[in-house]
Symmetry: C2
Subunit: 253 residues, 2 copies
C-alpha cells in the first residue's frame, strides 16, 4: 500500500520509522526472534520511546510483530490462510469440517443475533460452542445459535453431556434443506471466554465472521465466529473452481 505518490502526503514520524523497521525485520531478523528492548531500539533509530511504541503497535496490527507478556516482542510468522465458507453448501459439522465441538448450552442470544434469527430477544436458544485449530494453534472460537423452531424434533436431552447435546442439535439441523449461506466480516474484540480459547487477552482484536444459514426462506441458524486477527488471513474460495498456481514458476513478462 501507499507505494505511489507518497511524496504528496506528509508522513508522520512513526510511520517513517515503521517502514525502516519493516526493512530491518525483513533483512536482519528471523521469525520468532526476540527484538531488543524499547530503550535500545529507540536509541538505535534515534527516536523517542513514544514514537517507537506507535510504530511497534502498527506492526502488531499488521501481523508483523507479536507482543507477549513475559516473552517480549517477537517477529511473527506469516499469517495463516484460513479457509472460510469452503463448505459453501453444507450445514455446520459437515464431514470435512475443521471445527471441534466444545459445548452446548441453552441461553439467550445477543440482540443482533436474535434480530437476524427474527426471534424474540428473550427467547432461549441452543448455543453450540465450537473451536478451530490450524497447525496446532487455536485460530477461531464459534457460537452457533439454533432456535427451537429449527430443530422441532430434537429429543429431550436435558441431562445428557454437553457434547452429546451438541451432536443432537447439529444432527437435527442437517435434516433441514439448506438453501444457502450469507456472511459478514467485521472487526471486534475478544470476549473473556473467546480470549481464553484463542490464547489471547480479553479485548484482543478479532475478525468476527457472522454466518446466516438459510432454510425454508428463513434464517435457521446463525454462527458468530471470532478469528484471531493477529495470526489469521481469512481466505474466501475462488469462484468457478479455478485451479490456482502456487508454484514458484514466474509468468512470462
Amino acid at each position: 500500500m501507499g507505494t505511489t505518490r507518497l511524496e504528496s502526503v506528509p508522513e508522520p514520524k512513526y510511520w517513517q520509522l515503521k517502514s525502516v523497521l519493516t526493512q530491518a525485520l525483513d533483512s536482519e531478523f528471523s521469525v520468532g526472534e526476540v527484538l531488543p528492548n524499547e530503550r535500545d531500539l529507540a536509541a538505535r533509530f534515534g527516536v523517542a520511546r513514544a514514537t517507537l511504541r506507535q510504530a511497534l503497535e502498527q506492526l502488531e496490527l499488521e501481523g508483523r510483530l507479536q507482543r507477549r507478556r513475559g516473552v517480549g516482542t517477537t517477529v511473527a510468522p506469516p499469517r495463516m490462510g484460513v479457509a472460510v465458507g469452503s463448505e459453501r453448501d453444507a450445514w455446520p459439522s459437515a464431514a470435512d469440517d475443521a471445527w471441534q465441538l466444545s459445548g452446548c448450552t441453552v441461553a439467550t442470544a445477543p440482540g443482533a443475533v436474535a434480530d437476524l434469527l427474527q426471534t424474540d430477544r428473550e427467547e432461549s436458544l441452543h448455543v453450540v460452542r465450537r473451536s478451530r485449530m490450524t497447525h496446532g494453534q487455536p485460530v477461531a472460537a464459534e457460537l452457533l445459535y439454533v432456535p427451537d423452531a429449527s430443530v422441532p424434533d430434537l429429543p429431550v436431552i436435558g441431562t445428557a453431556a454437553e457434547a452429546a447435546r451438541a451432536r443432537s442439535v447439529l444432527r437435527e439441523l442437517q435434516r433441514l434443506d439448506l438453501e444457502g449461506q450469507s456472511r459478514t466480516v467485521e472487526l471486534g474484540s475478544a470476549g473473556a471466554e473467546d480470549a481464553k480459547e484463542l490464547d489471547r487477552l480479553p479485548g484482543a482484536p478479532v475478525l468476527v465472521v457472522t454466518t446466516r444459514y438459510h432454510a425454508d426462506g428463513l434464517t435457521a441458524a446463525v454462527s458468530v465466529a471470532t478469528y484471531r486477527a493477529d495470526t489469521c488471513r481469512l481466505a474466501f474460495g475462488a469462484s468457478g473452481g479455478v485451479e490456482i498456481h502456487h508454484g514458484p514458476e514466474r509468468r512470462a513478462s
Copy 2:
C-alpha cells in the same frame, strides 16, 4: 459473544465496565451524541481513568464509539453493510461497480503482491487507484495492480491524463476471459495516502481485502482494497441466490 458460562471465566474490570457502558449507550444515548468527558465518566462509574480508557478503546474497536480530535467521543451509528465481491464474475469496473477512478501510475508492487502475480519484485506495473463511497462517506481505497503481460495491447498513453490511462488499462483487462476470483480478508493499518482518502489518521485499523483475478490459468491482476474497520461490515453474498427476509415479521416459535 460470551453470554454463556460467563461465571466460569474471571473478567477484567474494564470488561465489566464495557458491558455496563454498552447498556448505557443502548438506553441513554443516541447516535452522534457526545459522551461526557473521561473524568466525569470515571467518577460516574466509580473506576480509574485508565480502566475507563481501556473500556472506551474496546467499544471503539467494536464500532460502538468514535473518537475524533476536536469533537470528543461520540456514539457511532451502526456499521454499514458493504457488499464485497457481489460482481463475482466481473472484472473491476463492471457496469454496476461501486468504485470511482482516482488515478493511475506506473510503479512497483509490494513484495506480497508481486508474489501473487508471479512477477519480479522490481517489475513496474500499472497501478490503478480507485475509491468507494457509501451513503456519502468514504469506505474504501483500492490499488489495482496490473502487469504489462495482462494488457499487451495497451495503447501508448504516456502523456494522457491519469483518468484516461486508468480507463484504458481497465478496458484492456476486460478483454481477457475472467475465470474467477479469490479473496482474502485480514486486519491492517491505513497507510498515509489511504488514511487521507478514508478521512482517518494514518495507522487507523482497516480491513484489507486482497482479490486475485484469474485468467488463462494465471493471476492477471491483484486488487488490494482497504476498508474502514470502524464503519464497515463486509458482506459476502448469499450463495444460491436465496432471497433473505429483512422485514420485521417474526418467525413462529
